[in-house]
Amino acid sequence: MRKKQPDRIGYYIAALPRFAAGMLMLPPYLLAEGLACKALLAAFFALLAVLAGKRLRWGYFLILVLSVTFFHLLSPWGRVLVEIGPFIITSGALENGLIRGITLVGMVFLSVASVRPELELPGRFGGLLGRTFYYFDSILEGKRRLSGKNFFVSLDELLMERFNPDQEKLGAGESGEKPCLETDQTFRGWFLCAAAILIPWGLWILKL
């Protein structure tokens, strides 16, 4: 089993400013038009995701970009680059497909880097989500009890153990708070947030 990578961004930046920074980086990314700019920013977001300790499934993202590009190539547009039998590769369709595919993949990288499970949503729904994460952790603790052979019996036993409907008070004695990776927002954290936000805005303003 592979070792979990540490969240290097989480050392300096708390969940809410991190999410806000991610959202501030999105508009210039979506507004940028050139393939080079999109690709550069997607690579930057991939770097952030790796620093966040996320294991990216590169094969999956490659297949996604290639399949989006392939379907765009089916509607030829622009200068003909290559003809392979009845299949024509045109410059416009190729560039459009790549831009669309890379945009989608970059958005996932950015989201993965900026969204943490510790992010707390406000209001009653936020409280309910906190309870949900509490129970999620509780079920995960007992996951070894699940057996492929007797899946239904073992699942029933696990659920009965973690949330017994016959107990006097459901969820008794539990705080209901999300498991929290406490991070104090440091000065360095604010500086890194600002620097990261400036990169996509700067590229968009310079019209790269």
Binding site: L110, L119, L170
Partner: protein, 182 residues
């Protein structure tokens, strides 16, 4: 047995957690293609149709979609929108089929209808926002896989309903809490 008024809230939160857990279990099952999904996380929604009030069913749905977005980090991406649209349409369709079909439609039929509706919406979104018009060719494949996964989840649900003591207990507790709040 003393019943607290917040039992409904606890049961709703636990069903949301079960969605997230089954989503994690599904992640461990090998897939022939990266885009294929079994939809195990929909099982609590399918089971919830039998006893949850519509407002609580919608809450479980939101907990599932937003929880998955937070756990996987996809909350701010197109993946979240696809998941939200597919789940909303699926739950709405399953609710209609379950209520209108009555005793004539089992959980397999209900699950199948939800999976088909979800597949159709996701194909429509993929054609509109991701792949372009030419991607209509993926519709038969997507709908075909929707039929297979819908059947599998439906059979899972039927078996779980017939064998689970936990589910019977939860249904009983939920109905008591409803009566208590009247």
């Amino acid at each position: 047995m003393p019943v607290r008024s917040d039992d409904r809230r606890e049961i709703t939160a636990f069903l949301g957690a079960l969605c997230l857990f089954l989503s994690a279990v599904e992640y461990l099952i090998p897939k022939p293609l990266p885009f294929l999904r079994l939809g195990l996380a929909n099982l609590p929604l399918l089971l919830g149709l039998r006893f949850l009030k519509p407002v609580d069913l919608i809450l479980v749905l939101l907990l599932k979609v937003i929880g998955q977005g937070l756990v996987n980090g996809t909350l701010a991406s197109y993946v979240f929108l696809f998941s939200l649209a597919g789940s909303v349409v699926s739950v709405f369709t399953m609710s209609m089929v379950y209520r209108l079909g009555g005793r004539h439609v089992g959980l397999v039929g209900v699950s199948l209808s939800g999976a088909l509706a979800s597949s159709l919406v996701q194909v429509a979104l993929a054609v509109t926002f991701v792949f372009g018009e030419t991607a209509r060719v993926i519709a038969p494949f997507s709908i075909g896989s929707g039929i297979v996964t819908g059947l599998i989840i439906g059979v899972f649900a039927e078996r779980f309903v017939s064998s689970s003591g936990w589910l019977k207990g939860i249904e009983r507790r939920y109905s008591i809490s409803l009566e208590d709040s009247k």
